[in-house]
C-alpha cells in the first residue's frame, strides 16, 4: 500500500494533479484528436494512475499515449473536474525519459524536441534550417521535406544563416542550470 500511494503522491507533488478526482466521464477521450492513435486514451490513462500500482505506471511510461499528446488542452477545457491532464503528460514524459522507458513512437518526436532546443541553446532563436538538418541527422530521415524546402526558399521563408542574438552567455547559463543540470542529477 505504501508503494502504491508513493506513485500518485509523487505525481501530485510535482503537478498538483489529484488523479482521484477523475470519475471516468470520458469527455477527455471523446475530445482528444489523437485518441484513436494512442495505445490507450486519456481517461483510461487516468484510471491506470488511480490504481496506483507500479505495473500500471510502467504501462503508461512505456506507452505512445504520452508522446502523442499534443498539449492542445482540449481535455482540460472540457473536464468537469478541471483535471490538468496536459500538465500531467509533461511530467509523465519527463519520467519516461528519466527511466528510459521510451515507446518507439517517441523517437522522432523526441528527436525533434532535442534538435529544437539545441538550436536555441546555440543561437538564442530558432534556426529552422539547422533544426531540420539536426532532426534528419538524428532520425536518418534524409528525404524529409525535400519537396517543401525549395518552395520555402523561393517564397523567402528560409534563412540560410541564424539570426543575430547577443546574450549567448545567459542562454548557455539558462540551459546549464535547467535541462543539463537535470541530466546530471539523473546520472
Amino acid at each position: 500500500m505504501m508503494e502504491k500511494n508513493h506513485n500518485i503522491s509523487d505525481l501530485q507533488l510535482h503537478t498538483g494533479v489529484e488523479v482521484m478526482r477523475c470519475y471516468q466521464c470520458g469527455k477527455c477521450s471523446a475530445g482528444c484528436v489523437l485518441a484513436s492513435e494512442m495505445n490507450f486514451p486519456p481517461s483510461y490513462l487516468m484510471r491506470l494512475l488511480q490504481t496506483g500500482t507500479r505495473e500500471n505506471l510502467d504501462k503508461i511510461l512505456n506507452s505512445n499515449s504520452i508522446w502523442l499528446c499534443l498539449n492542445c488542452e482540449n481535455c482540460l477545457g472540457r473536464c468537469p473536474m478541471e483535471i490538468d491532464i496536459p500538465k500531467m503528460m509533461d511530467y509523465l514524459r519527463t519520467q519516461s525519459v528519466r527511466e528510459n522507458k521510451l515507446h518507439p513512437d517517441s523517437k522522432p518526436i523526441l528527436a525533434f524536441h532535442r534538435s529544437f532546443l539545441d538550436s536555441i541553446k546555440h543561437t538564442g532563436r530558432l534556426y529552422e534550417v539547422g533544426l531540420v538538418a539536426a532532426f534528419k541527422f538524428r532520425t536518418f530521415r534524409l528525404a524529409q521535406d525535400l519537396a517543401v524546402a525549395p518552395v520555402m526558399y523561393l517564397k523567402g521563408k528560409l534563412h540560410l544563416f541564424p539570426e543575430k542574438f547577443n546574450d549567448r552567455k545567459r542562454m548557455k547559463r539558462i540551459f546549464a542550470q535547467t535541462i543539463e543540470n537535470a541530466k546530471k542529477d539523473n546520472q
Partner: protein, 279 residues
C-alpha cells in the same frame, strides 16, 4: 499608440508574411510597435515537454528584458509564444518558482507586463476605427480558425469563449466579410508535429480544411503561424489523405484586414503562401 512587440522565431522565418502583415497593419492604424531588444526563443512546445524550469526561464528572460526596456504592454502575434508567455507569468506568481527562475536568469523579473495577442491589440485599437478605414470591403465567406493556444487554458488566458470564440468573427464582420458557423474552430491542427509526424498533421489538418470547404468557405482565417503553416505548407500531404483535393487559401487575420484597408499584396506577404491567395 505605442506598444511593445515580440515577434518570435516563426515570424522571422517560415511565417514572415505574418510579421509583414502585422507591421503593415500597425503602420496603417498608427500603432507604433517597439520590438523587445535582443529577444530569445520562448522555448515553444519543446521546452515544456523536456524541462519545466527551462520552459519558464526562456519566456521569463523575454519578459524581464521587456520590463528593463520600460515596456508595460507587449503584443505577441504567434499564438504559441503568446500562450507560453502567459503561462509563464501565471506559474511565476509562485514565490519559489519565481525565486529559482530569477536566480537562473540573474535578472530582475516583476511579472507586471500586460501580454496580449493580435486580436486583443486590434480590439484595443477599436473596431470603429478599423471600420472607418475600410476602402475595399472583404466580401468573402470565411471560416475563422482559432486553434488551441489562443483560447486554452481559459482559466489562465481569460480570452474569448473556449468552445465557440467570436473575436476574429467580429473583426471579419467589421471589414465586410461573412464568418461562418463550423465545427473545427478550436480543434488542434497537429501543431508541433509538422516535422516529426507529418502523417498525423495531414490527417488532423485535413479534417479541419474539409469541414471548412464542405460548408463553402472561400478561405480559412487564422491568428497562429503553426495553424497557418500546417494548413498551407502541408497542403500537399493533406490532399493525399483526401478524396477531393482542397485549394482554399489560409490567410492571417492581419492580411484580411490589410486587404480591406487597401494595403498591397506584397506588403502583406500574400505572395509567400503555398496555396495561392486569389480573393
Amino acid at each position: 499608440m505605442k506598444i511593445g512587440y515580440y515577434p518570435g522565431c516563426s515570424l522571422t522565418g517560415s511565417s514572415r508574411e505574418y510579421n509583414e502583415s502585422v507591421v503593415a497593419l500597425a503602420k496603417a492604424l498608427e500603432i507604433e510597435l517597439v520590438e523587445i531588444k535582443d529577444w530569445n526563443c520562448c522555448g515553444a512546445t519543446a521546452a515544456h515537454v523536456m524541462n519545466e524550469e527551462l520552459s519558464l526561464s526562456l519566456p521569463a528572460r523575454i519578459m524581464a528584458t521587456a520590463e528593463e526596456q520600460g515596456l508595460t504592454e507587449v503584443v505577441v502575434p504567434c499564438a504559441a509564444c503568446y500562450n507560453r508567455l502567459k503561462m509563464t507569468q501565471h506559474e511565476l506568481k509562485d514565490d519559489d518558482k519565481r525565486g529559482r527562475v530569477t536566480e537562473i536568469l540573474k535578472m530582475p523579473y516583476q511579472g507586471s507586463l500586460n501580454i496580449i495577442n493580435v486580436l486583443q491589440m486590434l480590439d484595443v485599437y477599436g473596431a470603429e476605427n478599423i471600420k472607418a478605414r475600410v476602402t475595399s470591403p472583404f466580401a468573402h465567406k470565411v471560416a475563422c480558425y482559432y486553434g488551441c493556444l489562443l483560447v486554452r487554458p481559459h482559466s489562465i488566458l481569460q480570452f474569448d469563449r473556449v468552445e465557440d470564440p467570436q473575436s476574429m468573427d467580429s473583426l471579419i464582420r467589421v471589414i465586410g466579410g461573412s464568418p461562418m458557423d463550423w465545427a473545427f474552430k478550436t480543434e488542434c491542427c497537429g501543431a508541433g508535429f509538422s516535422v516529426s509526424r507529418t502523417d498525423l498533421v495531414a490527417k488532423l489538418s485535413g479534417n479541419i480544411l474539409k469541414d471548412a470547404a464542405d460548408r463553402g468557405a472561400e478561405a480559412v482565417v487564422v491568428a497562429c503561424p503553426m495553424c497557418q503553416s500546417n494548413l498551407d505548407m502541408r497542403r500537399g500531404a493533406i490532399n493525399k489523405t483526401l478524396v477531393q483535393p482542397i485549394d482554399i487559401p489560409v490567410i492571417y487575420i492581419t492580411q484580411a484586414i490589410g486587404m480591406a484597408l487597401g494595403i498591397g499584396a506584397t506588403e502583406l506577404g500574400l505572395k509567400r503562401h503555398f496555396v495561392n491567395v486569389e480573393l
